[in-house]
């Protein structure tokens, strides 16, 4: 019924020219935006929504946090099946393949075009844009909160071993960690090995080294892609990490154990971590008094030509089945977020990076990266733009990727607990991961990724 009503409303709205738009006394068109951030970040999103609502009087976005990324996708699917979906929804990077086959969205670039907004897609950093674009380059969703992985290093600890720069190769990392251990540091480097760390350990590592995670160009070329991480440089990496763990150079830090790796770094307990630039603000706010630290690009193995790292975070999808008026609002909202001024607000308050060159330039022009708490964040842009994206550094587009990441966590734990060898663990990861991919392919028979 509401659909019919909405249909009429849309017809009526359509009858008016865009110039006339709505009469001044009209109620603003309300539409829903669901997102997965919580806590501090959710408050920033709320402020951004208020700013949008205050910036014009035609639309009113109602922003609701669903708690986390998983829950946002689950709730959106449930709502969609019941015909009560939000207009705009934030979906995390690994949900991209699932979204693309859902048939439940309105392509973001079409939406903008239909509503008269001209977006310069070449302005997006290519590493970010291609993660969310079709193989033909159409932007199905708009990047929202973007990040990439960096190495955080404690300058004081490195000074103790006579180093003033972050190690650039993994070989150097190994030597430096050993030197720090010899200098009496109990935890030279902290890692965690749950599903979440698949991002920096497996996906980012593979991209920077131009190694595939899966066949078919990481899944971009077909649903029949299969994992390959048991025979790429990744095997060497896991072998080294395990070796360093065994000799006490690396400690596992997680919330379950009482302290996660970001806390371990900020408190000065551990000297090196690999995590998202999104944590830059947290480390700055919670660091031990007087501690000197900085961020650097993730190291590579000696002799590797560095490629761009992958984008992480989430993008905004516009769902199908909404009225034209709501779509107009959604388009205005996306355009607002795309604005460099919003990028500055967003990055200042979160730690996420601007997604467009113009946003980045605007922020640079405002002196953002020269100020103390934000200094170093430009490293993330350097890492993302280290090269033109290759076939395997565009991103990872695999179905049910959440389950594959869970399998990554499981096998890493088995490897680190000495239950299996590195090769056995990665072979099992590939075998079980392939079964997950098989299942995804069976669920969507005859379909291909756009």
């Amino acid at each position: 019924m509401t659909m019919i009503k909405r249909g009429f409303a849309a017809l009526a709205a359509g009858a008016l020219s865009t110039a006339l738009a709505m009469p001044a006394f009209a109620e603003p068109v309300k539409f829903d935006f669901w997102f997965g951030l919580s806590g501090d970040l959710a408050r920033v999103v709320d402020t951004m929504c208020k700013n949008f609502n205050a910036s014009q009087s035609d639309y009113e976005v109602v922003c609701t946090s669903q708690g986390n990324y998983d829950a946002t996708l689950q709730n959106t699917i449930a709502a969609f099946r019941a015909g009560k979906q939000p207009t705009v929804v934030q979906v995390y990077d690994v949900g991209t393949a699932t979204m693309m086959l859902s048939g439940a969205y309105k392509p973001a670039d079409k939406l903008m075009e239909e509503n008269g907004y001209k977006i310069d897609y070449a302005d997006y950093f290519p590493g970010i844009a291609r993660y969310y674009a079709t193989s033909k380059g159409e932007m199905l969703s708009f990047p929202f909160n973007s990040s990439t992985a960096l190495m955080y290093w404690n300058k004081d600890a490195f000074a103790k071993i006579g180093k003033t720069e972050a190690p650039k190769t993994w070989e150097d990392v190994g030597a430096d960690l050993q030197a720090m251990k010899d200098a009496g540091y109990e935890c030279p480097m902290a890692i965690n090995i749950s599903a979440n760390e698949s991002w920096q350990l497996m996906e980012q590592f593979s991209a920077i080294h131009n190694q595939p995670v899966a066949t078919k160009n990481n899944g971009y070329d077909g649903l029949d892609a299969r994992l390959e991480v048991n025979k790429t440089k990744f095997v060497q990496y896991v072998t080294d990490l395990k070796k360093w763990y065994d000799s006490g150079l690396i400690k596992i830090k997680s919330k379950d154990l009482g302290q996660d790796m970001v806390q371990a770094f900020a408190s000065g307990t551990c000297q090196v971590i690999l995590t998202s630039v999104g944590d830059h603000g947290t480390v700055g706010r919670t660091q031990k008094e007087g501690m000197n630290w900085d961020v650097a690009e993730l190291p590579v193995y000696a002799g590797t030509e560095r490629k761009n790292s992958l984008v992480g975070g989430a993008s905004l999808w516009v769902l199908s089945g909404k009225s034209d008026a709501e779509y107009k609002g959604a388009a205005a909202f996306l355009n607002f977020i795309h604005d460099p001024k919003t990028a500055l607000f967003w990055s200042t308050n979160t730690g996420y990076i601007p997604v467009t060159k113009s946003g980045f330039d605007y922020m640079k022009g405002q002196g953002f990266y020269d100020k103390a708490p934000y200094k170093g964040r430009e490293t993330a842009i350097a890492s993302l733009t280290a090269s033109e994206p290759t076939e395997v550094t565009r991103g990872v587009r695999l179905g049910n990727f959440t389950q594959i990441r869970a399998e990554f966590g499981t096998q890493m734990q088995a490897i680190f607990a000495n239950k299996v060898s590195v090769q056995e663990g990665l072979d099992t990861l590939v075998k079980n991961g392939d079964a997950i991919l098989d299942r995804f392919q069976q669920t969507y028979p005859g379909k291909t990724l756009p």
């Binding site: 998983d70 996708l73 689950q74 699917i77 969609f80 099946r81 699932t98 086959l101 859902s102 048939g103 439940a104 749950s194 596992i252 997680s254 379950d256 154990l257 009482g258 302290q259 049910n400 959440t402 389950q403 869970a406 966590g409 499981t410 096998q411 734990q413 088995a414 680190f416 607990a417 239950k419 079980n432 079964a435 997950i436 299942r439 069976q442 669920t443 969507y444 028979p445």
Partner: protein, 294 residues
């Protein structure tokens, strides 16, 4: 002539039962039926295409080593935590049933744990059992790495068993205490006058008389350990490390909700349901024979 509306007892019965039946149908049989249907199809998460695959979902689950691992973990968890929770509760109830100074206070204290919600309880235990900051960090300082639920599967299993048992000790205690109090004092006093000791009185008089309660609690505890363990696992271990605590009920959740594999999760929930039914039948057939209903 006065006309009297008459109902056969059969219709009246049905009429009274209808509201109840409707509720049960809506909230139990209908979703259960839906689960059966989903388990025989491949559901696309966003709706739209559903493919009939017959028993394929069951075949692929039963061929999956992780699933068997999850069944084993569930059985180990159910066995140990039920045993612990019942034994401790039984001992405590037997003790507080006696005329001890302050036994009223003990009763209240022992009943409380059951009132605590699983997530709050699990959070508390997560802090208590954290290897570096918690209660056991002392042990770790003496023997580094001896307590490591983050990597050691057995330690992780032990943590969730402790948390779950702790909660059900309170629940079981209430029933055991009631059972003990229902035993006529005269029986025990007579035995005491005949010169039998505390232990003898317990085994020969009290224990046989509370077997119905023991049996009831056994059925409930086992069923709950399969179903109510979810919150504790989710907060304390998330099924890890390396699937060591990936109990059946948690695997259903993570495959279905996080992994969006609705059909696989539906098939698993059917298997879990069958397993619980089987276990219950087994208990009624083989254990109930030993129960003495006084």
């Amino acid at each position: 002539m006065e006309k009297r509306v008459t109902f056969s007892s059969w219709t009246i019965g049905i009429l009274f039962a209808v509201p109840q039946l409707l509720l049960i149908f809506t909230f139990f049989y209908w979703p259960a039926g839906q689960a059966v249907y989903w388990s025989l199809t491949l559901q696309q998460p966003w709706g739209g295409g559903n493919i009939w695959v017959g028993l394929d979902n069951f075949r692929s689950i039963l061929a999956n080593a992780d699933y068997w691992n999850s069944i084993t973990a569930s059985l180990v968890f159910a066995g140990i935590s039920t045993g612990l929770a019942m034994f401790i509760a039984l001992v405590l109830a037997a003790l507080t049933d006696r005329q001890l100074a302050g036994s009223r206070l003990y009763r209240v204290v022992l009943i409380w744990p059951y009132g605590i919600a699983a997530p709050a309880l699990a959070l508390a235990f997560r802090f208590i059992l954290a290897p570096e900051a918690g209660f056991l960090s002392v042990v770790n300082r003496m023997w580094p790495g001896i307590w490591d639920p983050g990597l050691d599967g057995a330690d992780a299993m032990a943590s969730i068993i402790v948390a779950f048992s702790w909660k059900y000790v309170g629940y079981n205690f209430i029933f055991f205490l009631a059972a003990f109090q229902a035993i006529p004092r005269s029986l025990i006093e007579a035995a005491a006058m005949d010169g039998s000791g505390v232990i003898r009185r317990f085994w020969d008089i009290q224990f046989p008389l509370i077997t119905p309660t023991i049996f009831f609690l056994l059925v409930i505890n086992i069923t709950e350990s399969f179903q109510d363990s979810f919150g504790i696992v989710d907060i304390m271990t998330s099924g890890g490390p390396a699937n060591a605590t990936n109990l059946m009920v948690y695997k259903i959740y993570s495959d279905g909700f996080k992994g969006l594999d609705y059909s696989g999760a539906a098939a698993q929930s059917i298997i879990l349901m069958l397993l619980i039914i089987l276990l219950t039948i087994f208990q009624f057939r083989f254990i109930e024979r030993r129960v003495h209903y006084g």
